[in-house]
Symmetry: C2
Subunit: 180 residues, 2 copies
């Protein structure tokens, strides 16, 4: 067993969406080490799929990346919320879409060290699309494309956001395996 | 154009592997906002594939996740290093494997807001495996499995590390498209 012993830990930065912890630990050989770890609240990422294998994504300007991206609908799981209720809420808030069938297809770890954050990926089916075009509060454009086009965008780099890439490729694999 | 104006920014935490910045900006309506953003140095993630579609992964105990994981070989791009030279160095350091053919298959953004960090994913082919089992300095076990088994592990959650999932699913897609 390679488990290192944590001697002590303290909070060194508290943000609205993440904390930074300083962890003092002792490795197998008895050597003391210090690591800093970022802990983010869990997020949900939603992949709404129509009966004809079209997927709803969103396009928005991301000031951190200095460009407009195409991504899956996503958001934070709020306190007192399950990941499923967060997924339903985020899909409604961002797109006005409701879905009758929900399945958590993956529980992803953003990283294996330093950055701790869970991403719950949901497939949403049997969609109810609002008749009147939905206006969300954020500056988001809804994009509906065939799943196969979304896969192309992942493969050629047009979609390069980690959770979005995973969900799209997993959905395509489920389609190939005739599980969709 | 939805671009928000950055009024000022300052460093609020400096770690060995990441910084935390406080960004003050003004949105389109003139409202002031504060965001905290974590910036990580870029990492490389390497996917060495044999001629018979087997992939080399690594198993190691991850104290942050409190379990032993299966992941792709990965590491930080050091100063004065290109992502390709970092990939070659990490593969050698962790596994002793050399590869004659290298291709960057994706440049992934860890997240679209809050967490900034690029992940360069490399396919490595024409492998030279050390004859004498390689002993690395870290506590890592080399795992060679068919690519199809790796895909299964991604789909059933046994592999749930983001960059590893993306690389494995992309390699499988390239195989399906007969581009491998």
């Amino acid at each position: 067993m390679n488990q290192w012993k944590i001697a002590s830990q303290k909070l060194v930065f508290k943000g609205e969406l993440f904390d930074v912890k300083e962890i003092n630990f002792v490795d197998k050989s008895g050597k003391k080490k210090i690591h800093h770890v970022v802990e983010r609240d869990p997020i949900v990422s939603i992949f709404p799929l129509t009966d004809s294998y079209e997927i709803y994504l969103v396009s928005q300007y991301r000031y951190m990346l200095k460009r407009t991206t195409i991504e899956a609908v996503a958001g934070y799981v709020e306190k007192k919320e399950t990941s499923l209720s967060a997924a339903k809420r985020e899909l409604m808030e961002e797109t006005g879409i409701e879905a009758m069938q929900w399945e958590e297809i993956s529980r992803v770890e953003m990283a294996a060290s330093v950055f701790k954050g869970k991403m719950h990926l949901f497939l949403a089916k049997e969609l109810e699309i609002p008749v009147i075009p939905y206006e969300n509060e954020e500056e988001i454009t809804l994009v509906k494309i065939p799943l196969s086009d979304a896969v192309k965008k992942v493969m050629d780099g047009a979609i390069n956001h980690s959770a979005s890439m995973i969900g799209i490729l997993m959905l395509d694999m489920l389609r190939i395996q005739k599980k969709l």
